[in-house]
Amino acid sequence: MTAQDIIKPENLVYSKPSLLNDNTMHYCPGCSHGVVHKLIAEVIEEMGIMDKTVGVSPVGCAVFAYNYIDIDWQEAAHGRAPAIATAIKRLLPENLVFTYQGDGDLAAIGTAETIHAVNRGDNLAMIFINNAIYGMTGGQMAPTTLEGMKTATCPYGRDPQLNGYHLPITNLVAQLEGARYVTRQSVHTAAAVRKAKAAIRKAFENALCPEKKGASFVEIVSTCNSGWKLSPEKANQWMVENMFKAYPIGDLKNI
C-alpha cells in the first residue's frame, strides 16, 4: 500500500482546524505562537462556540492574531487586554472572552491590568505566551528574562545586580482569590501540545461557566527562536534546559 492509497479523505486523522484560516501567519518559522493559535482554533471549533467567542489580541508579535482565527476580536493597547476583556465580558456575560498576550505585554507594561483583572474574579480566560523576551521589537530584555540570559539590551546576560530577577508572574496570579485555574504548559512536543490543549479547553469551559466565577490563566512557556538566536529545534532544547527550571510545568491552582 503506497502513501497515495492511504491519503484519502476517509483515512484523515489529523489536519489544521478550519477555524485557523488559510492566511499565512507572519510568525517566524518554528515560533510557538503558531502552535498556540492552532490549539485555540481547535478548542473553539470542538466546543462549537465560534459565534460566541471574543478574543482580545495584544501588542507584540501576536498583534495580528485576529487575521488568523475567524472569530470576533478586539485589539487592545499594549498591556491593556485584561481591562478590555473585563469590559467585554461584563457587557456580554454569555460569551467566551479570552485574552492572548506575550510576556512584555502581560508581565511588563500590563502588570497592573493583569493583576487587577484576575483579582476582580471575572470569568475570563487568559492565554500568556512567555518567551522571556520582547520578540516583536527586536529581542529586548523583558521582566521574564532569565538571569544570565542574553538579549539585545543585556548582551552580556541579565545581571540581577543591575536588572533584578525573572518575574514568575503566574505564581503571583495563583495567589489571588480571583483566580480559579492557573496552569503552566508548553508546546514543544506532541505530548506537551496535547496537554496544553486540554488546559486551554479547561480555561475556556471555566470562562463559560455561569455558576462559578474566577479567572482561568494558562501560561505557555514558549520559544522565540529569532530573539534567542537559535534554530527552532535548539530553542526548544534551550527552553527545556533553562526555562523549565524558572517556570516549572504543571498546575498551580485548580478550584
Partner: protein
C-alpha cells in the same frame, strides 16, 4: 494481525521549513526537500514512506498547520 500504516501530506506552500516536524517524528519518516517553495523555504516531505505509523506527532507540533495525517488498518 492488523497492521497500522500512515501517510502525511504537507501543504508545501504553507510550510516555513522550521523542521520541527522532522524532529517530532518517532520513526524518522520526514526530511526537508532540496527544492524551495515560492516563499524560498525548503519544505517537509516524506523521505521514508514505509515507516509512517500515522501517529500525527508531526502535524500536532507544526506551528503553521501544514500537515494532514492519514491512517489505515491493514488486515493481514
Amino acid at each position: 494481525m492488523a497492521k497500522i500504516k500512515g501517510a502525511v501530506s504537507v501543504n508545501v506552500e504553507r510550510c516555513k521549513g522550521c523542521e520541527l516536524c522532522v524532529v517530532a517524528c518517532p520513526t524518522h519518516v520526514l526530511a526537508m526537500s532540496k527544492q524551495v517553495n515560492a516563499k524560498g523555504y525548503r519544505y517537509a516531505m516524506m523521505a521514508n514512506e514505509d515507516a509512517c505509523i500515522g501517529c500525527a506527532s508531526c502535524g500536532i507540533v507544526c506551528p503553521d498547520g501544514c500537515i494532514s495525517v492519514y491512517k489505515v488498518k491493514i488486515e493481514e
